[in-house]
Symmetry: C2
C-alpha cells in the first residue's frame, strides 16, 4: 500500500482544511482572494485524465460541491476552477472566488501578485464562514 | 424546446471543430498555442456546478477524452484545463497544450498575448493532426 503525500510546495503555501472522499481540501494562504485547492489523494498523477474514470467522477462531484458552497458562502461573482500545474506537478484543482471588484479582475489571478498571508484574526473569521462546508475531518 | 447558441465572442475567436454528446469542440484561432475549448450545449449555465449531475459527469468524461488525445497528438509537456469565464459568461472549459518551450511558460496563457491567427496552411496541418479525435460531426 502506498501513502499519498501532499507536494511540499502545496504544504508550504496552504492550510489543510480537511478531506473529502477523494481530495484533500486546502486553503491558499493569500488573503487577497478566497482561494481553495482540491488535491486528489492519488500518487503520481499530473493530469485529470490520468485518474481512473471513477475518480474523475468523484473529482467533479467534489469540485462542484466545493464551488457551489464557496459561491454561496462568499456571494461570489464568479468561480475560477482550473487544473494548471505548470509549477507543481502533483494534480491540484484551483477554486478561486472572484469579484468584479477584486484586484485582478478580469484577469486570472495565478502568478500575478505575491501572496499576502492571513492574519490570525482573518483566518479565524474565514474558518467561521466555512462551517457550512462538510468535510470528513 | 430551447435552442443552444454559442456566445458571439466564442464564435468570433474560435473555429467549431465538431461536437461530443454534450459539448461543442472549439479551436481558438491563436497559432501560438494548441488551444481548445469545450462548451456544454446548455443554456444559461455559467458554472460547472450549475450543470445537472449527469451533465457534470459527461463533461469530465469529454474533457478527459479531449485532454488525453491532445496530450498524445501534440506530445504535450502539460495540459492546462480551466473554467474561468470572467469575460464570457457562457460556461466554457479551456484545454491548452503547454510546452516548457512555449512563450508563456510557466505562466498561464490567458490574457497575456494578442492572438496570432492561423494561416490557411497552418490550419490545414493542424486539422490533419487532429484526425485521431473522434467527433460526432
Amino acid at each position: 500500500m502506498s501513502i499519498f503525500q501532499l507536494h511540499p510546495q502545496l504544504q508550504q503555501d496552504c492550510f489543510l482544511l480537511g478531506r473529502f472522499e477523494l481530495c484533500q481540501v486546502l486553503l491558499v494562504n493569500d488573503s487577497q482572494f478566497p482561494w481553495f485547492i482540491l488535491v486528489p489523494q492519488r500518487e503520481n498523477i499530473r493530469e485529470i485524465y490520468q485518474l481512473t474514470p471513477d475518480d474523475q467522477i468523484t473529482l467533479i462531484q467534489e469540485s462542484s460541491y466545493l464551488a457551489k458552497n464557496l459561491a454561496e458562502i462568499f456571494n461570489a461573482d464568479k468561480l475560477n476552477v482550473a487544473a494548471i500545474g505548470n509549477l507543481v506537478p502533483q494534480l491540484h484543482l484551483h477554486h478561486v472566488v472572484r469579484y468584479q471588484t477584486d484586484k485582478a479582475w478580469t484577469a486570472p489571478i495565478w502568478g500575478k501578485f505575491a501572496a499576502v498571508p492571513y492574519t490570525e484574526q482573518q483566518l479565524n473569521e474565514l474558518l467561521e464562514r466555512l462551517t457550512p462546508l462538510k468535510l470528513l475531518q
